[in-house]
Subunit: 324 residues, 2 copies
């Protein structure tokens, strides 16, 4: 494959090239990995940056509808929008997340939008790398906003938070006056909480829920990366397309503040280092699953199981084969 | 240090030698690690096995009182009992767990008992290895029962469950008829649930809680390693020393069944393999924190942070230094 030519096509904004490039970074084959590494480095030379927005929310809060409405709102402003999904469980669940583009009919036909469903992968480490590289490719392709959608599972949330500039948490109106079972850790990752379904019968409940969360957020200590008043909770209706402009205003305001104060760049720097270290750890452990270590590990593991060696003696022997 | 002589003293039942041996396995120094590995292997040659009992329970359920009562009950039967603690948070909390032997005054003066507080370590991987090796040393020293106490935190529970033959969950009586917030995962690890404080005013609540849990356990699918009727819930009073004999009977019954059916040995084999693999992973990643990789990682991480390299290019370069 001519990786340089592919990189140039991606940078030139060729959508089919971008799709092929993402397919390449999704591959686990070793020769593909080497090509993908060159490709991502080549595309990164464009120096372009998008606003990376993470979006989390449990099933039923209306994530697809929100992405459709919010995505179209952004393209209506003239912005180019890419949507990626992180779903480590898609192999099991049959790929419900973004699997069905018909739920984003308008956005998927929009020439300013690019939607990429989650690949079938079970390995969270692999999903992280693939998503991170896909984000970098979309940035190089000139998108202004990259939306990274994730399901409401703790681990994938943390991963997405580690690769985005802004993190949105989408919630549904709560039944009573109590907060929904949102894990404290996820709430602390959110920059903006959006209570969806502020329409029709649910509107009063949505406004009440929004007020509850706004109150709860005021109780949290202000983080250094936030200006006064953030994190914040807003009510939106993805269905009626209400509150989207205000939400976008807040995102722009927060981003501008972070850029001015240097937090934006500092976060990107830390994230890049984090992913480098993660990649080293992941690759190092991956060697254990390959020959010759795999066979050696199997044999020593059997000896340990029979009680002929202690776990630590056997581990020391295996590691001696790896050199210093 | 004469490691062989120390190993022989441990096997001969010398308590001071055992304490010194555990101190050695707790050390993170590399020369100590090498000695510890030889020591554990030497002691393992005794071929002795204890019944390893894991004990979990959140603060306030009376764990110290239970260990004191149950430990003395066992020594009263003529058994030798070692008590170890796993507390990955002890460095922060100031070592509340078993830090104060005065809470087990009777047991700590009992010549058939050996109590070892948790060392101050923050690293869960280090705590796991230390505890596992301390268990092996206690077995070699001829103890019949090794009690491994842990705090009610998910990760340390899983770790203890991976190194014991029986797992006990200690609970306090619940206020109403509802189950306490015990994580499903922890409940599924438990072989026997003990509702403590079945004495005085709390006795009716304890019996009700015991009945609730017995009902809940019947709803779980029977695990292959359990005979009919297990896992089971019992009410005990550590304070009044009631129910301890029945609890011990059930533990013996369960152990006998597992020994007969081969589950006991199979579990030990799987656990040994698990710890071998964990040790390999842990040691492999530990290399990243040592020179020359540490310095290399620092330099490449800085380049990634400045955007001069992609995370994956830099990772590939680092790994190339590790050879195949």
């Amino acid at each position: 494959m001519d990786v340089s030519a592919l990189a140039q096509s991606v940078i030139a904004g060729d959508r089919r090239a971008l799709a092929r490039a993402i397919t390449l970074v999704e591959s686990a084959r070793e020769d593909h990995r080497a090509e993908a590494r060159v490709l991502v480095a080549e595309v990164a030379k464009s120096g372009r940056e998008a606003l990376r927005i993470g979006l989390s929310g449990t099933p039923g809060v209306g994530k697809s509808t929100f992405i459709e409405s919010f995505g179209c709102f952004l393209t209506g402003l003239g912005l180019r929008v890419a949507v990626l999904a992180v779903d480590p469980s898609s192999a099991r669940s049959g790929g419900s997340i973004l699997g069905d583009k018909t739920r984003m009919e308008r956005l998927s036909r929009d020439p300013r939008a690019f939607i990429r469903p989650s690949p079938s992968q079970t390995h969270l480490g692999g999903v992280a790398r693939r998503t991170r590289e896909a984000v970098a490719l979309c940035e190089g392709a000139g998108f202004d906003v990259v939306l990274i959608e994730t399901v409401g599972v703790g681990q994938s949330e943390t991963m997405v938070a580690e690769m985005c500039d802004l993190f949105l948490l989408l919630l549904a109106p709560a039944g009573g006056d109590e907060l929904q079972g949102v894990k404290r850790g996820i709430m602390e990752m959110a920059d903006i909480i959006l209570v969806n379904k502020a329409d029709g019968d649910l509107k009063p409940a949505a406004l009440r829920t929004q007020a509850d969360y706004a109150g709860a957020l005021r109780l949290l200590r202000r983080r250094p990366q936030d200006p006064e008043g953030f994190p914040k909770a807003l009510a939106v209706s993805a269905l009626e397309e209400n509150g989207l402009a205000q939400a976008w205003d807040e995102m722009e305001r927060l981003t501008a503040w972070r850029r001015e104060t240097g937090h934006w760049q500092r976060r990107r720097t830390e994230q890049a280092r984090h992913w480098f270290e993660e990649e080293v750890r992941h690759s190092l452990l991956a060697r254990l699953a390959r020959e010759p270590l795999r066979g050696l590990m199997e044999g020593l593991g059997a000896a340990v199981g029979r009680g002929e060696r202690t776990p630590d003696e056997a581990a020391a022997e295996l590691l001696a084969h790896l050199g210093r």
